[in-house]
């Protein structure tokens, strides 16, 4: 081991720190990768669905070759793992569903190839558990196994990117990818005490993400700090003109350089002039007092940094629940119709004819939540109900997005809780889908509006469980969000805390 770095400390380093050590050749990508693979082999959280040491080590050796040749790019040789919603050529992809058991994609998702050997040179450690087809808030809808929260293994880590959140929190990976349709990056980040950002809808290509709700799905990074997320997002984002027609025609930005270059003139008031809007609907009785206390504490810290707090209103916040749970299942029922037991996916062993094969294959392959959403989606799209439900929801969606634009005339970013409670006990809500849907209240409206949002560790609530502060920006303002989060993390150490069991 060169450079005097104790191997047991490698997992304590974040993305930026590991990248610096790799660039200085104090440690090799092979050593780093072996270290994390050894930790992953011991994991008891259910965070991983697939690993392949041969593949990961070969990628690490390739990164070391590039480093030895003098190449220096910001993420070269740093390992990460992907949510199992991103298709990968070198690892199986299941999207947490039995429907895709043993599925092997012939191609890599755009996000995977941008971060991997053909791009930034990161090393893939494996695939991370998630709710089936990213449908869930607790990762208890995975068809394979639930994921446990490293802060309390009796509790859920959040979902649907629960494996990603738990793996980062438990130092099994320095960073992970996630996807967010209605809060699936922000909510597990909050409940597991890490940092995560969902960019503006269309910032990252959806090509190769197993589709759930196409007008909402968006990829984003999950890591311990805003700086680490900025490093990843810089490689993930950008137009994908030939493969995702909804990807925004905006070039990727070097978000990390923005953060590191920030030398605000305000001295100890680096956020002087930043107006933070607090929607009154996010601070009502629906939010648990322990969560509100942590959020208010973080906002007081923002005031110390020079920001001012202003009251704003998002009057349709409550409506975002039915609107989202009409639109997302409608799109899901359409997207999941591709699983017919013919080209890929599960096929029933016994059937009478083609129609019976479709029905048996789909009923056997889909879990309860996917089935429920297909049923809801099919119903709201069916003849005679389309106008009353789907079209009505799409209209209210515009009103929700307009309300955000009104609020942004009074403030630069919007802040509030991510989730109304800390992580709940495994099994606590498993038989009450509507209770699960209600827990998404603070993340759904910005998803419907397609706005960037993030979760930043902000303290602890009941049971010593982490609480995240949600920051929502206007369209394309990821850099502003990451900057506000970075300044907060320079002044606080919530994001450096680790689960006591580690």
């Amino acid at each position: 081991m060169s450079g005097g770095l104790n191997n047991t400390e490698l997992h304590d380093l974040g993305v930026a720190q590991l990248a610096a050590k790799l660039a200085a050749r104090e440690v090799s990508s092979l050593e780093v990768t072996q270290h994390f693979l050894a930790r992953i082999r011991q994991e008891q959280l259910g965070a991983f669905l697939a690993t392949d040491a041969d593949v990961s080590l070969a990628q690490a050796k390739a990164a070391d070759t590039r480093l030895a040749a003098g190449e220096r790019t910001p993420l070269l040789g740093v390992p990460l793992a992907h949510k199992d919603v991103f298709v990968t050529r070198d690892f199986p992809t299941t999207a947490g569903s039995k429907m895709l058991e043993n599925y092997r994609s012939p191609f890599d998702a755009t996000v995977v190839s941008r971060l991997g050997a053909q791009g930034a040179g990161m090393v893939t450690l494996g695939k991370l558990n998630c709710d089936e087809f990213a449908m869930g808030s607790g990762n208890d809808n995975s068809a394979y196994k639930p994921v446990k929260n490293p802060w309390d293994t009796g509790r859920i880590p959040g979902g649907s990117s629960g494996g990603s959140a738990a793996a980062v929190a438990a130092r099994l990976v320095p960073a992970a990818t996630g996807t967010d349709t209605g809060g699936s990056i922000r909510q597990p980040a909050s409940l597991s005490g890490i940092t995560g950002i969902k960019p503006t809808y269309g910032r990252c290509s959806r090509y190769g993400m197993v589709a759930f709700a196409s007008s909402l799905d968006q990829a984003g990074p999950m890591a311990r700090s805003a700086l680490d997320c900025a490093l990843l997002l810089s490689s993930m984002a950008g137009p994908d003109p030939d493969r995702d027609s909804t990807s925004l025609d905006l070039p990727a930005i070097d978000y990390a350089a923005d953060l590191l270059a920030a030398r605000p003139a305000g001295g100890d008031k680096p956020l002087k002039g930043l107006r933070i809007g607090l929607p009154k609907q996010f601070f009502g009785t629906g939010c648990a007092p322990d969560v509100l206390a942590a959020v208010r504490g973080a906002l007081a810290e923002y005031e110390k940094l020079g920001a001012t707090l202003v009251d704003v209103s998002l009057p349709l916040t409550e409506l975002s629940i039915p609107v989202y749970y009409v639109i997302a299942p409608a799109e899901a029922s359409s997207n999941l119709s591709r699983f017919d037991g013919v080209r890929y996916g599960h096929r029933a062993a016994h059937y009478t004819d083609l129609d019976d094969m479709y029905k048996k294959s789909r009923s056997e392959g889909f879990g309860d939540e996917a089935t429920r959403r297909i049923m809801i989606g099919t119903y709201v799209l069916s003849h005679g109900y389309y106008d009353a439900y789907y079209l009505k929801a799409q209209k209210i969606r515009r009103l929700i997005a307009q309300d955000f634009q009104t609020a942004f005339t009074q403030c630069d970013i919007i802040a509030g809780p991510v989730s109304p409670t800390v992580a709940w006990k495994i099994g606590e809500k498993s038989d009450d889908p509507v209770a699960n849907y209600r827990a998404d209240i603070y993340t759904l409206s910005s998803s419907l509006a397609g706005l960037p949002g993030m979760s930043v560790p902000a303290g602890f609530g009941a049971g010593g469980m982490p609480v995240g502060l949600q920051l929502i920006g206007n369209y394309f303002k990821e850099a502003q969000l990451l900057g506000a989060a970075h300044q907060f993390q320079l002044a606080t150490d919530w994001h450096l805390r680790q689960p006591p069991s580690l």
Binding site: Y103, R104, D249, D340, L354, S363, R372, R398, Q405, A449
Partner: protein
């Protein structure tokens, strides 16, 4: 307006799903619970409001691109069929559909 077991059967058929009797009952009560929540939407005045599909369209026009109509992908027939349930001579097999 509550759904009936007949509605559930009709929708399940449209979605090509086969629900067991106990699943039909559970699905019915869960979906009716959900639609009680959805009824709140009726109270919102949406007269003259255009539906929003691409969210960024709320602040400006979003042009959905078309690409050139040329083949851009290499032939990956074998890799594509690795995960197929039944393949013979490069073709996907399905139950007989034409008598």
């Amino acid at each position: 307006m509550a759904l009936t077991p007949q509605d559930i059967a009709r929708v399940a058929n449209l979605a090509r799903l086969e629900l067991r009797p106990d699943e039909t009952e559970r699905t019915l009560s869960q979906i009716n619970g959900f639609f009680a929540l959805v009824e709140q939407m009726e109270a919102v005045n949406t007269e003259g409001v255009e539906p929003l599909a691409h969210p960024a369209a709320v602040i400006g026009e979003v042009a959905l691109r078309l690409r050139e109509d040329v083949a851009s992908e290499p032939n990956q027939r074998e890799a594509s069929q690795v995960s197929a349930p039944a393949v013979e001579r490069g073709l996907f097999l399905v139950p007989k559909v034409i008598e």
